[in-house]
């Protein structure tokens, strides 16, 4: 191939790659979008939705809980009063029914007066706690007790008896 052939081949390749035509409805679509422009709010809604989806995906991928776990608050158990039959006392008015009597007749618990709560103007400060005093350990405190090891008994001498050779064997 000559250089001219190569150049011609390049021209043909470029022309073939660029031999494209726009869609026939381009003008109509452009004019339609000018008459009915996409509302800005609508576009922002899409953008916000996409951002929210990405944020959600990131959170899920990182394993972060979506909301903090509710804190468990332990409330002290309030002792429920037990119904104890009470004998009428001499001071009771004769027509006044006892609370237990009301409960028995109506099936509803009698109204109890709300406990009065005092709201002091000032709350006394908590008394200061004494600091914990921890003695500093010394070397003697942490030194272990001496360990006595008894010496092992001496090893007795070993005597090895010669193995008797069978009769007729050569030395």
């Amino acid at each position: 191939m000559t250089e001219r052939d190569v150049d011609r081949a390049i021209d043909r390749a470029v022309r073939s790659m660029m031999n494209v035509e726009p869609d026939a409805g381009t003008t109509r679509r452009v004019l339609a979008s000018l008459r009915h422009p996409e509302p800005v709010v609508f576009r922002w809604t899409w953008a916000a939705a996409a951002a929210a989806a990405i944020a959600l995906a990131v959170l899920l991928m990182r394993g972060i809980p979506l909301s903090p776990e509710p804190e468990l608050v332990r409330t002290p158990a309030v002792p429920q009063p037990t119904a104890v039959a009470r004998a009428p006392e001499p001071g009771d008015a004769p027509g006044t029914p006892s609370p237990q009597g009301v409960e028995r007749r109506t099936g509803l618990p009698p109204e109890r007066p709300a406990p009065s709560v005092e709201h002091p103007e000032t709350i006394p400060a908590l008394s200061a706690l004494d600091p914990l005093v921890v003695p500093v350990p010394t070397a003697a405190d942490i030194e272990p007790d001496a360990v006595d090891v008894a010496p092992l008994p001496p090893i007795p001498d070993l005597h090895i008896e010669p193995v008797p050779l069978p009769p007729g064997s050569r030395d």
Partner: protein, 200 residues
């Protein structure tokens, strides 16, 4: 308007009409320039669907900015600059990158078969096969050229854009446009020689 008026003059008159709200005049501007805009977008993106979207975006943007057009350059150059910027934005967009990694649709439209359908001067079967193979190699090489070289080569070869227009679109001097086109050819020639299509 008369039939003897030069093209930029016709565009300018249509722009003046569109600037005072004549939508039909703007429609005429779209019709006259849509192919040039489409081919520019296609050269940048290599995808018919992306190029269609860019054409639409570019014309809508041009319509909205039409009042700011003062006629310092031709309407066509001004419009192509807008379209090129839109195409670059799309080329950099993450969504397009993700789609391309799945579909690989760059420069794979039916238009690539045009050369193979048009035999030149009754060549033999062997010559036709060799030519088709060469064209396939060349298209792959062009698609993998560095972007700066490829953009200029394709824009210049589209038959729609002069070197001056390309310079205006890419915001580079005409001399740089010519150098890039020449360099693209040099790189392609070198690769072809390496494949055995060397000079005699």
């Amino acid at each position: 308007m008369t039939g003897t008026e030069p093209e930029p003059q016709i565009d300018l008159e249509l722009v003046r009409l569109a600037q005072v709200g004549d939508d039909a005049a703007f429609g005429e501007l779209v019709e006259r320039n849509r192919r040039a805009v489409y081919r520019a977008a296609y050269a940048a993106l290599g995808s018919a669907a992306d190029a269609d979207d860019v054409v639409q975006d570019a014309f809508v943007a041009a319509y909205r900015r039409l009042r700011s057009f003062r006629g310092d350059s031709s309407f066509r150059t001004w419009l192509l600059s807008i379209a090129w910027r839109k195409a670059m934005d799309r080329r950099r967009s993450v969504t397009r990158w993700m789609r391309l990694t799945v579909t690989h649709d760059r420069f794979e439209d039916g238009a690539t078969d045009v050369v193979e359908r048009v035999p030149a001067l009754e060549p033999s079967t062997d010559e036709r096969l060799e030519s088709a193979e060469l064209q396939r190699h060349l298209r792959t090489m062009i698609a993998t050229l560095p972007r700066k070289l490829r953009d200029v080569l394709l824009l210049a070869g589209s038959g729609e854009h002069s070197y001056e227009e390309i310079g205006g679109m890419l915001s580079i001097p005409v001399g740089t446009v010519k150098w890039r086109a020449s360099e693209a050819r040099r790189v392609l020639r070198k690769k072809l020689t390496a494949l055995g299509y060397g000079h005699d």
